[in-house]
């Protein structure tokens, strides 16, 4: 913080205090509690934090959606067995400890003294019930099944051992089990059984730091501090009750409106700040940019089933021809991390020997000639509206090596089936990898039959390596396998390897102890607002 901003902050603080005392007659008649301390700063225990969301919330039932944004909101009312730190490490939450009894049996010890918002204690029965609701078909009532079952991979059943121990049975070893568990939140068995799933979604009760007050999913969701909270993960400081009294999630899909609300003080935290707005936010004395390494990979997938991308030289040429580094530096304002191969740079299994294809038009032209395309070819880059700028920049680069590239914008719902059928040639798209483990990334995107394998890449050798790594429980062994697979993929270049967009959010300077999280969730338990 430089001197000038310090001065301005000081003036603002004084002004705020004057205003508070000036119009404080109403406030004074209510109780006036002492401020509490957080990170060495005084925070207001009666504060309200308002977050601007970029999309509607789908439901408040943790088992009934497949949407990161919805999970962000739910996560503040519900806790999971484990949770993640902002940089993606797994730490205990409701579970105290866990161990592997055999490669396919996990045992979790549950913390004692945890209560749901209705005061009832959380036990192994609730944990078992939570997972049964997700695993069993039709368990959500009205013949509805949970769309989250796939997130539990090979888990076949969860059974209670004693009141505070549960056992997970798997059909095969699953190394990313811990990384996948934060996506499931524990619900109260007795309450859900009593009121039914439909009513539960309207009046949700969890064991999280905030309890539900009111809300319309397309508009605003209000929560209040739960005063008997057990304190949350011992690894996430401070442990204890939530810092703020009230938190509000406002749904503001339009980016410029959301940032306008942040600047005018209507909200204090805004999701998704586009790269070009970052400088503007930084220039505002009341605001801060918060960013974290992202877990969503953006890449150009080339269709190997079609000419000219059936030729590996053409695919390599594309990697030399598109100036990804310049796109990252300028069009994305440096708010992305370039990837050499398919795997996230933050993943434990990333192959550090691979260097990004350099920008080299001569090499690209040479490879194109060798492949029999000395005069290039016509190419349409298919993408979605969000990635339009990037696609256009890449098309301009490709034109420089003689490829007549144009961009076509699609509605994703229309484009995806065409890509899976192999009817298009090149797609600029994204794929999420919130676990940062290649297991649930390489399999869907680069193995035959994968739901995100639009390049129709099917290398048996790479597939074997991916399959082996999927069930191995020895981290170093898994790493070796993935490193080998990445080397193969790198050389075969089914993609123009892209970048991982950083997770960029903005907050008011009054917000204390909040950092952007790699998996894009906004957990407000430990976050406070500066006392006036």
């Amino acid at each position: 913080m430089n001197k000038k901003t310090l001065k301005v902050t000081a003036i603002l603080l004084v002004l705020g205090m004057i205003m508070l005392t000036g119009c404080g007659t109403k406030a004074a008649s209510v109780e006036k509690p002492a401020a509490t301390t957080l990170n060495g700063q005084n925070v207001d225990p009666n504060a309200t934090i308002t977050v601007g969301l970029s999309a509607s919330v789908l439901t408040l039932d943790p088992a009934n959606h497949r949407d990161r944004n919805t999970e962000t909101v739910i996560r503040n009312m519900f806790d999971g067995l484990v949770t993640r730190t902002v940089d993606g490490k797994i730490v205990p939450e409701i579970a105290e400890s866990w161990k592997l009894n055999s490669p396919t049996v996990w045992e979790f010890k549950i913390r004692k003294g945890i209560t749901f918002h209705d005061g009832s204690p959380l036990t192994a029965d609730d944990v078992q019930f939570t997972f049964e609701r997700i695993l069993k078909e039709g368990a959500l009532g009205n013949n509805l099944s949970s769309p989250r079952k796939g997130l539990l991979g090979p888990v076949t059943s969860v059974v209670k051992v004693d009141d505070f121990t549960v056992q997970f049975n798997l059909s095969s070893p699953w190394p990313i089990m811990e990384q996948m568990l934060p996506h499931q939140q524990i619900v109260p068995k007795a309450y859900v059984e009593k009121v039914g799933s439909e009513e539960f979604a309207k009046k949700p009760i969890g064991a999280g730091p905030f309890k539900f007050v009111e809300g319309k999913l397309d508009e605003r969701i209000v929560m209040e501090r739960y005063d008997k909270y057990y304190g949350g993960s011992p690894d996430l400081k401070p442990v204890g009750l939530a810092q703020a009294k009230t938190v509000i999630f406002e749904v503001i899909p339009e980016t410029s409106t959301r940032l306008a609300s942040l600047m005018s003080g209507q909200i204090q935290i805004s999701q998704k700040v586009p790269a070009d707005m970052i400088d503007k936010v930084k220039a505002d004395n009341n605001l801060l940019i918060k960013s974290a390494e992202g877990t969503t990979v953006t890449m150009f997938q080339m269709n190997l089933k079609q000419k000219p991308f059936d030729n590996v030289k053409v695919r390599q040429a594309m990697n030399y021809a598109v100036n990804i580094q310049q796109i990252v530096d300028t069009a994305l304002g440096g708010n992305a991390v370039r990837l050499a191969g398919p795997v996230l740079a933050t993943s434990f299994a990333v192959n550090k020997d691979l260097k990004p294809y350099p920008y080299d038009t001569a090499k690209a032209k040479q490879l194109l000639s060798e492949a029999g395309y000395p005069n290039g070819f016509a190419l349409v880059i298919d993408t979605e509206a969000d990635l339009k700028t990037i696609a256009e920049a890449a098309a301009a680069d490709l034109q420089k090596v003689g490829i007549n590239a144009t961009v076509r914008i699609w509605d994703w719902g229309v484009l995806k089936p065409l890509l899976l059928k192999g009817e298009r040639s090149m797609a600029l798209t994204t794929f999420g990898n919130s676990t940062q483990d290649p297991s649930d990334f390489l399999e869907p995107t680069l193995k035959a039959g994968g739901g995100g394998n639009y390049s129709h890449y099917a290398n048996p050798e790479a597939a074997t390596l991916i399959d082996q790594a999927k069930i191995s429980l020895v981290e170093s062994e898994r790493k070796d396998l993935y490193v080998k697979a990445q080397a193969i993929i790198y050389n075969e270049a089914p993609w123009v390897f892209g970048y991982a967009m950083k997770q960029t959010e903005a907050s008011s300077k009054k917000i204390v102890n909040w950092e952007s999280s790699m998996d894009s969730r906004i957990n407000l338990h430990d976050v406070g607002i500066l006392a006036k």
Partner: protein
């Protein structure tokens, strides 16, 4: 042959009288001149534009207009996120915007007038079917349809036209059908029928010249609306495919930069505003001098 000449003359006389009256309307004249300037700009765009409208250069991105700090004369109105020259894009964009406007109105007129004449003249079952269908379309939210069309066929020029004309013809249909029913009862039509002139000839050479200015007025007023709709559809992600310069998609794409690079969205917005304003002034002038019945809108 003779009747054709006569009907042509009638057309001509009607239009001539129409435009001579228009002379008394200064704002309409002003509007007309501006429209002509825009049309001229669109036609000679390659001569006017200082740069390629689709030439991207990331090194030159987000240059402000010349009068702001950091602006240069070579990029008069600055550049956009991809470093494309805004002035050149605006000049070329006039082509797309005008073309979309004129084609969308033209096609709507064609469909609406033909169906309206047939329905209004012959009435009966055909009229019933078309009128019901028109009512149905009026009740169906336009944007939902437009989004659907764009989703099925993908955004693009032809599909944009399809979306705009899908409902656009209904107004012309209603107008012409109504006029038709009125005109049909007039003496000159009855006389022609008695003389054994064919229905088609009556419609084309007797009635049409008498309803042409109503169509012209409504068409002009709809022209502005269609140009605005292109922008609104772009807002929902359904505009022209990049990098083709179109004002609507430029305004819409620039909206996220309103606070940092205001010119990307604002300057094409002003270009569009001036054009549509002129079209409306011209249309209002037309309306004023035409049939007073139309004044009711």
């Amino acid at each position: 042959m003779e009747t054709h000449l006569r009907s042509l003359r009638l057309f001509g006389q009607n239009l001539q009288a129409f435009f001579s009256q228009l002379k008394k309307h200064p704002s309409a004249w002003l509007g007309g001149i501006v429209i002509l300037l825009y049309v001229a700009m669109a036609i000679i765009a390659p001569l006017l534009a200082p740069h390629s409208p689709i030439g991207t250069d990331l090194q030159l991105r987000l240059i402000p207009p010349f009068w702001q700090d950091g602006g240069t004369w070579s990029h008069f109105f600055g550049t956009d996120v991809l470093g494309m020259d805004l002035l050149s894009r605006i000049i070329y964009g006039a082509r797309i915007s005008l073309l979309i406007g004129f084609l969308a109105v033209g096609i709507s007129v064609l469909i609406g007038v033909v169906l309206g004449m047939l329905a209004g003249y012959f009435r009966g079952f055909f009229d019933e079917i078309i009128s019901r269908f028109a009512e149905l379309l009026m009740a169906f939210p336009f944007l939902i349809f437009a989004i659907g069309i764009m989703a099925v066929l993908g955004p693009g020029f032809g599909n944009l036209l399809l979306a705009l004309t899908f409902k656009g013809w209904v107004e012309f249909f209603r107008l012409v059908r109504g006029e038709m029913m009125v005109e049909k009862t007039k003496e000159y039509v009855e006389a022609a029928t008695a003389l054994g002139v064919s229905h088609l000839r009556i419609i084309i050479s007797e009635i049409l010249p008498n309803v042409v200015h109503s169509i012209l007025v409504l068409g002009t007023l709809r022209l502005g609306y269609m140009i605005i709709m292109e922008a609104s559809l772009s807002f929902l992600g359904l505009g022209i495919q990049p990098p083709t310069p179109a004002w609507g998609s430029m305004i819409s794409a620039g909206r996220d930069y309103m606070m940092t690079a205001w010119w990307i969205s604002t300057i094409p917005g002003i270009a569009l505003l001036i054009l549509v304003l002129s079209i409306n002034l011209f249309g209002e002038g037309l309306r004023d001098v035409s049939d007073p019945r139309l004044k009711r809108g």
